[in-house]
Every structure is written in C-alpha cells, then in structure tokens.
Symmetry: C2
Subunit: 453 residues, 2 copies
C-alpha cells in the first residue's frame, strides 16, 4: 500500500487535480491520499490558506466577513466548475466556513487555526467527490476519526493512539482522501501542525498503515544537490538517507519539512519526492540507507539569518559549569541555539537571529556580564551557515581540507567550523555576504569536478 | 624592580644556587626572589618534593620516619656543604621536619601539604643564609607574612588582601627570598598551589609589588614553537602574548603553569622565561601585546588523553535545553569539559580522560539515555587535541585550510575541528596514534616553509 501526499500547487486548480486523479488511478497501490489546501496557480496568485488567514483576522477585527467568505468559495468554485461538479460541494464549503466564523473566539489562535484548516478539509471533501464523479470510489476521512494530537500549549504532535486508530484505514476498499495539516486533541479541539504540516499528515498515515512507500508529490522533479537559484543547473539527488535529508532541510532546503520525516523514519518507510507535473520522473528517494556513490558529498545547503553571542573570560576553562550556566541564561530567554564552538577562555553561541530582540540581547549580555563575570560579551549578526552533507563523509580523509580550501579561495574568511559530532555533516559559519559565492565554490569543488555517478 | 622565580633544577645543587646568586647580583633591580624546592640534579635523581611526599606517607603509615627525615636533610647537607655553610641551617631544617611530622594528622591532605611545603620553605631559608654569607644582604620572608589564601575545599588561590600585604615587600632594603608553592589561610592553615605552584607565587609577588618585570628562570633557553621531543630543532619563540601562552600551555606546553599568568596578566607585567644555565640568552618574553611577525602561527601544541562522549537524538535541535541538561549531568559528575561540537541531531562532549572512571562513564551514559531519551550515547577514548596558536590568526584567510590539508596529508582523519570562538587558536581533535605525525606536518607547513622573522 502506498500513501501519497499532494502539496498545494498539485491541487491548486481543476487541471492539477485531474493530474492527481490520473496519478492515483495509474497505480492501484495508491490507496491513501493526503491533500493540502489549494496553493498558487501562478507566482502572483494567492494561496487559499492566506485567503483564510485574512478571513479569520477580518472576523476577529469585526470586519465584513461575507466578502471574504465569498472570495474563498469562489476559489473553490473555479475548481468544481473546471472539474464539472455541481454546486453541492460549494454549499457544503460555504456553510462550513460560516459555521467556523461563528465559532468561539476566546482563544484567537485556535479560532484562526480552525479557519485555516478548512482549506485542507474542504479540499479533501472536494477531491473525494471528484474522484467518485469519475468512477474512482473514494471516501473523505476526517482527522476527527483518529488523528489525536497532544494538548496546548506544547508544539503539536500526534499521540501514540493516533497511529493505532489510523491503522484501521488500511482495510477500506475506497481510496481515502485525508486532509493534511491538522488533527484534534482528545477534547476535540482542532490543532494544526507547522507550515508544511501536510507532509507530516502523510507521514503519519504512511507509518500508521505500514505503507511500503510514502510518495510526496510536489512541483519539482527532484531534490537538487544545491540551491538552483544560486548554483547553475545543479545535479539531482537520486537517493538520500533520512539523516542527510534532515541536515540539508535544516539549512535552506525547504523542499521537505524535516519534522515530517520522523514517523516514516521510525518505521524505515522509504519516501519518494515526485513531481505531479512530471510523474514519470523518478524523483528523489529518501531511504534509511543508500548505496555509496563515488561522491562523498550528497548535497550542500546554506542558510542566512544567524547571530553569534561571543563570551570570553580569562581562565573560563577552569570553571566547571560555566558553559552550562551560559546556556541556562539563553534557555531562560527561550532561545534554542545551533552550535557552541569554544576556545580555552572563549565560547560562542550560534543561534537563529529571528529569536532575538534588542531587549533580549541586552538582558542576555547584562546577565552574562554580572552573573558569570565575563570579561567580554557581545552579539554579532549577519552570519550564514553552510552545511556540507554526505553519509559517512566524516571518514573521508581530506574532505574538511578540500572544503576549507574551496571557501578560502572565494576570499571569504571562515568564522566558524563545526565538525566532530554529526557523521554526515560539516558546518561552516561565514559572513552572509559570502554565502552565495561560497555555495558556488563548494559545488564546484565537490560536484562539477567529479563525473556524475 | 624585578621579581625572579627560580625553578627546581635552578636550585637543585650548590653549583646551581651559585648561578642563582650571580644572576641576582648582576642586576640590582632583582630584589625579590621566589624559589622552588631542590629539583633533580640529573635525570635519574629524585626531587626533594618527592622525598617529602614519601616521608609524609611513611609517617601516616606509622613507618620509620627518622631515616626518611635524614634522607631529606642529607640532600640539603650536600647543598650547604657545597656552598661552604656551617651546620646551623641543617639543624634548623632537621628540627623543622621533626616538628612538621609530629603535627596534627586529622586531615591527611593538609598534613602532606605541610611536609611538602617544607621543601620550598627550607630552601628559601638556606638560600637567604647563603646570600648573606657571600655579602649579599638577603632576608627570608615567610608566606605567613601576607600570602593569605582562601579556605578549603575550594581550589587554592590568593585572596585580594594578600596583594595588599605583600605590596609592602617593595620597601625592603635586602634581597627577599620567598618560598614558592604555598601560603596560609586566615586561620593559619598551610595550603599549597598546584604543582608548578612556585610560578604562581612569583607571579603574585610581581603583581603585589608592581614589578616592571617577572623573570621566570628555568632550564631551557626559551619556549619553542613546537615540542622539541617531537619536532626536530623547532624555532624559538622570542615574543608571545599572554593569550597565546595560555592556549599553548593548555595543550602540552608544560614550560609555564597557565594559572600562574593570571596575576601578572591583570597588571600587564611582562614575563621573561630565562635559562639559569645560560642567563645571557634573551629567552622568551610573554607580553600583553606583541609586534606581528610575518608568521601567522606562533606555536603548535598537542596533548593526548582526551575522551569524547557522543550523544545523538533525532530532532535534538528542536529541544530547547537539551545541551544544557547534558552539560548539567556531566557537571554533576564534577567533570569539566573542553569542547562541545554539535551537529543537527548530535552533540559530542570532549573532556580529559583522567576525570573519568568506568563507573562515572556508566552513570553518565545511563542518565543521558533515560533522562534525555537519547538514541545513541557512548564514550570513545584515546584522542589528542592539536592546538594551533597565533594572535589574530583567525583573520588569516586560508589558515584553517592549510592546517586541515597538512593534517590530511599525514593520512590522519580529522575527528573534530573547533574554530569560532577563540581568536588565537584553532583546535583539531585526532586519534592519538597520529599526534606526533600531525605535529611534525603542521610545523613543516607553518614554520619550515617560512623564513624566520
């Protein structure tokens, strides 16, 4: 049994949904389909999810919701018209939206979540009815039937019983259309996953039914070894391990939401990233293990928006607990950090800048100075992390040297190197203005010079 | 005013102490002299300090102390005879040792400390009387007169009032002979500094009297850029900053006890490491700042005996506080760590192996597994840290690349690279069996290829 997930652009229009139907039809193993809300049809289009957020905020502001509801409904009408469906579904969607808008607003976030989630929910109903209209027996299944989530305020995840409940789906005759992105707590409160959350839903379903394959349909043929916006015509990745994918998606590779890999990772279910617009392309396969190619590096990613907190204190290394106390202060500002390179009397903490505010920075610097009696404490910003990823590459003698040399040849100074823990990645911190140049240089070093395997 | 410190080999015999007298005489600025206990006269000799430890342990074991005391006394007699002194000092020393041996033994450590410290104390008295016997007005000053230390059980350090008390020494007409290695708490309890503690005493004295220079006399002409036991005829270091010295002494450079720099560092007092056996050699000057040479690297040191705790957990980087909790567990075993390189889902903690026991390792692994729910936790041993040190070298583009390349060319795999915080050092973790080969390779890269400045 195959679980497929179709992303926003794959279900953005009647034309796209027809492609989805053909893909599902072409392989009887494709029994469970998770769908996103209609995405952009063109670069200047608006996602249904964004229309819904606008609707929710208008409602909260006491504005004119009718016009907003119509905006959403019309978006679906374009689709149903194009699919030759009657108005039944339109009325269902309109009624559903009015009901959600009238719901309890005491918790603004939950109110917005409920309206956002209607995008996937109604799209799933719509697609199920389309499948049936063309003689493909299909059935909409609501997350209410088993996708149990944890309670607020923790970050959203599926509880163990969710997997037990959803495992029953493997016995249904019809093709199951399941809305992505959300589920319900034991108390029946609707909660959503992070953006990209439909990937998680598909992954949970694949794990629950013990699928042989999880197909993740998007609008690219494959994952590239480097960002095509920066590197000219990068090679495609045919096979990649879960760990490699995780490391890559962490720094800039937005193609796959990293947390979404968790459920299939645990079961060792292979993932195939494919293109709805070119289903015959083999795509990229994410596997527990892969055959080594003649290339030590699988991919290179780069991401900006990092800041570094620098702390120095003479004889710091003699103080048991110094690092721990420093991280405690950072934790108390609810900041998660990425790396902590350290010298003898110095330690740096590298974190994503978006977690910082001038006030937070001030508080942290003040506390580190007074509570840890540090000699020097300061933040610096505009750093990028360049991550070179390859299974087992750590044991490739000379790889760090090649990478550092390639970076130096771009004229950039290496602000930080982090190697030593992960066996699949090597991280370089550089000033963001060098990011693109370095990505090009490293791609040149590790890919352009070697024949494609 | 110059404060000099003479190490164990510089005061090991009558012949050596005559050299000390000539050195002190040759410059009237040399008014304060800190001395160690008599060290080895030849490689197979036994230090007085070790004779004293043997004496203390024999006493605690209820053994025959008389013969042990005689052993120590005879060692001093060789010196007094060689210096043409009468028996006065011998009787003082014998009486002193008998008194110390009869002292309270309720705290074994303090009992041993008191007997160990007699090595410096009696040597200072002996040297003072010798100076006077040859017409150099000298005065033994006991640490009782001002060198106030903190109380147990903390690691020993001088309290602020010690500096105030000792500042008075600058007004004395005679040359002051001050025993290194120990001081007294407010309650009059004798406490010793770590081994190499005479360096600390000299440094405290230099700081207290605001010396223009702290001369540290040892048995080498200078500090070398790399370990002469490994690298063939390494270049000498003429000038080095405090920070560079710290980083070097941390990994293997045993020439100077790093903590001893603290008091002079705070005052910016220059330190000159010189050779008692070749006082005309300029030696190595440790300064707050130095003139940049044409060489980015000042020295390379290497030290073995490191272990790595490896911890991995899927989605670790999403857990605020994971690293802090890990370090807390290590701290609760009272282990201080060196570096914590981290990947996305992995973190390694690098520490000195001598802090570990099989029981500690077991406890740590068990706690990390259960309390942090880690997927994989294990220790690995026999690592060496190679430290490349140079003021401002961090901003030398390409230096990390050169270093990594030189290491790779030895065939060694780089297990860890730590760059990013300290501006003066770059640390590589390697398997210990490669240590010497790598040190040679790095020396070749950064020194042999460049004309000596």
């Amino acid at each position: 049994m195959i679980v497929c997930k179709f992303g926003g652009t794959s279900v953005a229009s009647a034309e796209q949904i027809k492609k989805v139907a053909n893909i599902v039809k072409s392989n009887p193993e494709r029994k469970i389909v998770a769908v996103s809300a209609p995405g952009k049809r063109s670069s200047d289009d608006i996602k249904v999810t964004d229309l819904l957020i606008d609707l929710a905020e208008t409602a909260l502001a006491g504005g004119d919701v009718e016009s907003k509801i119509n905006g959403v409904v019309n978006r679906y009408r374009d689709i149903t018209d194009g699919l030759g469906l009657d108005n039944t579904m339109m009325n269902v969607i309109a009624a559903d939206l009015s009901e959600r808008v009238q719901a309890d607003r005491s918790n603004k976030d939950l109110f917005i979540d409920s309206i956002k989630a209607s995008g996937e929910d109604n799209n799933a109903k719509l697609i199920a009815s389309y499948f049936n209209s063309i003689g493909m027996p299909a059935k909409y299944v609501s997350p209410k039937e088993g996708l149990v989530l944890n309670d607020l305020p923790e970050r959203t995840y599926a509880l163990p019983e969710a997997y037990v409940n959803l495992s029953k789906l493997k016995d249904t005759k019809e093709i199951i259309i399941f809305p992505g992105f959300f589920g319900y707590t034991k108390e029946g409160i609707l909660r959503t996953f992070d953006r990209g959350g439909s990937d998680i839903t598909g992954s949970i379903l694949a794990s629950a039914v013990g699928a042989t394959l999880y197909e993740n349909f998007t609008d690219v043929d494959c994952v590239f070894a480097a960002n095509p916006k920066v590197v000219n015509d990068p090679v495609d990745i045919k096979e990649i391990t879960y760990r490699e994918m995780r490391e890559l998606s962490y720094a800039g590779f937005s193609v796959f939401h990293d947390e979404a890999l968790m459920p299939v990772y645990k079961q060792g279910i292979p993932v195939n990233i494919k293109n709805t617009n070119n289903p015959s392309a083999p795509g990229t396969r994410i596997l527990p293990t892969r055959i080594q190619t003649n290339r030590p590096v699988t991919g290179i990613s780069a991401d900006g928006g990092f800041s570094i907190l620098y702390v120095s204190k003479y004889l710091m290394n003699r103080e048991v607990g110094f690092g721990r106390k420093l991280l405690q202060i950072i934790e108390e500002e609810n900041i998660s950090y990425e790396h902590t390179p350290s010298g003898l009397d110095d330690i740096s903490v590298i974190m994503r800048s978006n977690q910082l505010t001038p006030e937070k920075e001030e508080r942290i610097v003040a506390r580190v100075k007074t509570e840890l009696c540090a000699d020097d404490v300061h933040f610096s910003h505009n750093f990028s992390m360049i991550v070179i990823v390859g299974e087992g590459m750590r044991h490739n003698t000379g790889l760090a040297a090649r990478a550092a040399t390639a970076i130096s040849n771009t004229g950039a100074n290496i602000e930080m190197i982090n190697q030593g823990s992960s066996e699949v990645s090597l991280v370089f911190g550089v000033r963001s203005e060098f990011e693109d140049r370095i990505l090009k240089g490293l791609y040149e070093e590790f890919f352009a010079k070697i024949p494609i395997s």
